[in-house]
Subunit: 246 residues, 2 copies
């Protein structure tokens, strides 16, 4: 696909989490012009969408679409069915093995299909996503073979593909550890204080600390040898409010 | 995947058009228990959704979800951008060749991804769709190679696929002419008076008669040697209203 000035060259799926923020910063650093897509899919952790807005603004991405799609209408796991509990304080072995109940059926297929639709509409030829197959907590649609199959599909599915353009799926973090992702982001100047990873946050965005996603994030920052600025942000809020109450 | 009584065995994408109604009737005849999914994607021809409801009811499918998703938020062609005109009265050669402006970027990828999500949530292992590559008016995402790529993706994308089940994509009409589809549906007892194909219908559902889709439908009924009961339905309405006005 021919790039023309001003037109985005790539669409990034921005969740509000640290992986997609890092992937977006990586794409900007390699010269992509980004449009961002966030999906409001009825997730329990809607704080994510606020974080996605802040991340897009922080990275200077003005073409940011938040698309509502009610996956909860299908039923499914606790991320969309708010009457089910998010598992907390599971063992490291449990986190590392098997597909967790927080799996949302075909979620990344739906998200990538929407990103592809946006990319083709905008004339962009690359899809950027922050999926990761190392600390991926067992989701089938984060594996490299899934990503390759989607790239193939994209080139058969679209007018652009049929007319000889080539869609490319960029997943720069797919084989990095969480610690390496965090180091990459810090080098790129990502403000991780804007990002959220928790599956079950407080209404103000404060992470629960016990869900798989909080546990994986905490282990990543520990291994990277740097504090999580998201925690500092809420620690600060607590101190501020404690000071205000004095 | 093990079928258990009551649970749907397949999800059919039901558009309200004649192809998907025929595919659904075909699936029921081979013993599938169907859940139906219709997508309200901001299409100009919303009469389709009313038709989809009537078709589902007519076939006895009670598990019918209409999922709203605003593809118009991305921009795109005249099917979703209501300020653009639907082309009318194009030559047969123009209809048969090239990708028309009524192409909606990555539409079938998005629809199939949603059908896959619903199927996995319901525990169904087959996806049924009425796509057709003969009178397909040039859409890339109606071709057999696209369908094969999606089936492959589905088995990599899902927990069910990873755990050894096999998703199957059934497109029984893919290589039939429109006339053969209509003959199949008549043999199966499909009431085509409930179905709509027009891209630009009147608010009451009356087809425009000039868009590619009306033209392909009319040629199909002519070749099948049978009148289109949809036209009879509105012809009747006109006579009734003429009588009432006497």
């Amino acid at each position: 696909m021919k790039d023309s000035p001003g037109k985005p060259t790539a669409v990034v799926l921005l969740s509000g989490g640290l992986d997609s923020a890092t992937a977006a910063a990586w794409a900007l650093a390699r010269g992509e012009r980004l449009a961002a897509l966030s999906i409001d899919y009825g997730q329990r952790h809607r704080v994510e969408l606020e974080a996605a807005r802040e991340v897009a603004a922080g990275l200077g991405i003005s073409d940011h679409i938040i698309m509502p799609i009610d996956l909860a209408a299908f039923g499914g796991g606790p991320l969309v069915d708010h009457t089910q509990a998010v598992p907390k304080d599971r063992s490291d072995a449990a986190i590392a093995n098997g597909i967790p109940v927080t799996y949302v059926p075909a979620r990344n297929t739906v998200f990538l299909a929407l990103a592809l639709a946006l990319a083709e509409t905008r004339g962009a030829s690359r899809l950027v996503l922050g999926v990761n197959a190392v600390d991926y907590s067992g989701y089938p649609d984060c594996r490299p073979e899934f990503l390759e199959a989607f790239e193939q599909l994209a080139n058969l599915a679209t007018k652009a593909g049929v007319e000889g353009s080539r869609f490319e799926l960029l997943a720069p973090l797919v084989s990095l550890t969480k610690a390496a992702i965090i180091q990459t982001g810090i080098d790129l100047g990502v403000d991780y204080g804007l990002t959220t990873s928790c599956y079950d946050p407080e209404p103000d965005g404060r992470p629960c600390g016990g869900c798989d996603s909080c546990r994986i994030r905490a282990a990543g920052f520990a291994a990277a040898g740097t504090p999580d600025p998201r925690l500092a942000r809420f620690a600060g809020a607590t101190e501020d409010s404690a000071r205000a109450n004095r």
